[in-house]
Amino acid sequence: MSAPDAVAQGTAPPEESPRRPLRRPAAVVLVVLVALTGIVLAGRLGSTGPQDSALLDGPAPGLTGPTLDGGTFELADWDGEVVLVNVWASWCAPCRREQPLLLEAHSALGPQGLRIVGIDVRDDADDARAFLAEHGGAPWPNVVDPDGVRAVEWGTFALPETYLVGRDGSVVAKASGELDAAWIDEHVVPLLAGEGAP
């Protein structure tokens, strides 16, 4: 339809051309705004999965409280040692699978100074003890965390997670999900050998 036709029928806006100069920058601004918003939101969406801890290289949170065997644990008592903090629960299947590796690490690296402590999250104490007994018992303390407060204190996203605390008391590494031997070789062994110490 040509312009005069449209005007004759009284349907087309009468001053199409004068409006154009304003409309174009406005459209550009709108598109840029939408694009920027999209980029920001997409960036945030992409980063929601379990990931590196914000605690890395910072001081480790405290850990103190009653243990499954009826005692009391205080992480500060292990100052200056290399500590693996393992967050687990008896109802968590990967926790069950990684337990033998933890036991192995304890017997192999314990003599070199590796300490292990568990945080048993939202668990039934009997289930937890049965879980440990299945694997012949855990030769390390397990702090009970009935409401998940201690796990959140350590920045846990999902179970299991394992944090490596260096001799200087900082969080050196974090493993999300089931532990594997490679992670221990890569992070724990050098730290024990002194390479990771400041």
Partner: protein, 405 residues
């Protein structure tokens, strides 16, 4: 007269805007002294649940959300500010644990978009209104004058005295001239179409003429139009400034003090640790949300803990009237047993036990009620309870009761 009316209209618009801004500020503000529970809910609503996508700690029932809520409650009770609590989570989980973007980072764009967008759209609307109003303001000319204008312009055009240049206004005038010609040559003369085309042509011609310094008459008319538009323009700009101000205030308030407008109105009175909140605060909560059964249950529990059985019973009854629920029925029955009216609780408990034969809590209360009303079934029921939940905190007491009886 008309200027008086305009001033009155302007005042009315300003008043409406002022009320709207005040309402916005009030809604975004904290609306009095919120209870600890409401503050916990407000902060929990801004923190992403660690184990689930997109849900806030307030809305999630996942494994770690409960721990996060407990931490929020503890820290607020210790007197930390909502921002300090949020920082605690950011320190552990990183920036992305916050559901609402931190205005300090790239999230600023998200906050600024509405603040910029509202004035921008306002300016566009204003510019458009102004443009369409200008001819309209000059248009009180009666139609015959417009028709005369149009005819004169058409005649000038036909005789070559009017040659529109190729400016936008010239284009528009040329289009209008051609449209008028077309409308006139139509075999079936559409009078309405001709009149419209003439109006359009008159308007286009005025606008075209107004651009030329020589067209003194048209310029004069334009000046009058501008003068008339001035108060209206002041009003429009004033409104825009107000709206923009309101947007900024809202952004600052929401970003600043942790009472986001988006935080759901339902606090969760049943979250763990609510017994730390006194009945007075919970009573306020029930007054604020008299139709929320959860608020009444929380109040009932608080009274129950405080040993005020009659008040607790009334609160439970209120909750049940709003929404029948077995767990509240059980709470109420437990209260009756403890308050010394086991006989009253007995039929309800027997009915519950019929439906939940393996639920230790039901069996414990039923057993106790039976025992206290002298029913020999009590011992059997309590033994069944011990079988099902031997580690219950109540178990030692029940064993003593069974041995003693």
């Amino acid at each position: 007269m008309s200027s008086l009316r305009r001033v009155a209209g302007g005042l009315a618009v300003l008043a409406v805007l002022a009320v709207a801004v005040l309402g916005l500020v009030r809604a975004a503000g904290d609306g009095g002294r919120p209870s600890l529970e409401e503050r916990v809910a407000a902060v929990a609503g801004t923190i992403r649940c660690p184990t689930c996508q997109g849900l806030s700690v307030e809305d999630s029932s996942s494994v770690l959300a409960g721990g996060a809520r407990a931490i929020i409650e503890r820290q607020l009770a210790e007197g930390r500010t909502p921002d300090q609590v949020r920082q605690y989570f950011v320190d552990r989980y990183g920036e992305q644990v916050l559901l609402s973007p931190d205005p300090a980072g790239p999230g600023l764009v998200v906050w600024l978009a509405p603040a910029l967008g509202v004035p921008l759209v306002g300016v566009l609307v204003w510019a458009r209104l102004r443009r369409s109003r200008r001819p309209a303001a000059g248009a009180p000319l009666p139609a015959p004058a417009a028709a005369g204008d149009a005819r004169a312009a058409l005649a000038d055009y036909r005789e070559g005295r009017l040659v529109p240049d190729d400016s936008p206004a010239g284009d528009a005038l040329l289009g209008a001239l051609r449209a008028r010609q077309l409308a006139g040559t139509d075999e079936l003369v559409d009078e309405d179409g001709v009149r419209r085309a003439e109006l359009r042509l008159a308007a286009a011609h005025r606008r075209y003429a107004a651009r030329l310094p020589s067209a003194a008459g048209a310029t004069g008319r334009q000046a009058v139009t501008d003068g008339a538009a001035l108060p209206r323009r002041v009003l429009t700009v004033g409104s825009l400034v107000l709206v923009a101000g309101a947007a900024v205030v809202a952004v600052v308030l929401t970003a600043g003090d942790g009472t986001p407008a988006a935080a759901g109105p339902q606090a969760q009175p049943e979250v763990e640790g609510s017994s730390a909140t006194g009945p007075e605060e919970l009573l306020v909560a029930t007054q604020q949300r008299p139709d929320d059964p959860a608020a009444w249950v929380a109040l009932g529990r608080a009274y129950d803990h405080a040993g005020e059985y009659a008040d607790a019973l009334a609160a439970y009854d209120r909750a049940l009237a709003l929404r029948p629920a077995d767990d509240v029925v059980l709470l109420r029955a437990g209260l009756l047993v403890r308050a010394g009216s086991p006989a009253e609780a007995l039929p309800v408990l027997a009915e519950l036990a019929g439906r939940y034969p393996d639920e230790p809590d039901v069996l414990l209360l039923l057993g106790l009620a039976q025992d206290r009303t002298g029913d020999a079934q009590g011992a059997t029921t309590l033994r069944r309870f011990l079988e099902l939940d031997p580690d219950s905190p109540a178990a030692p007491g029940v064993r003593r009761l069974l041995e003693g009886g």
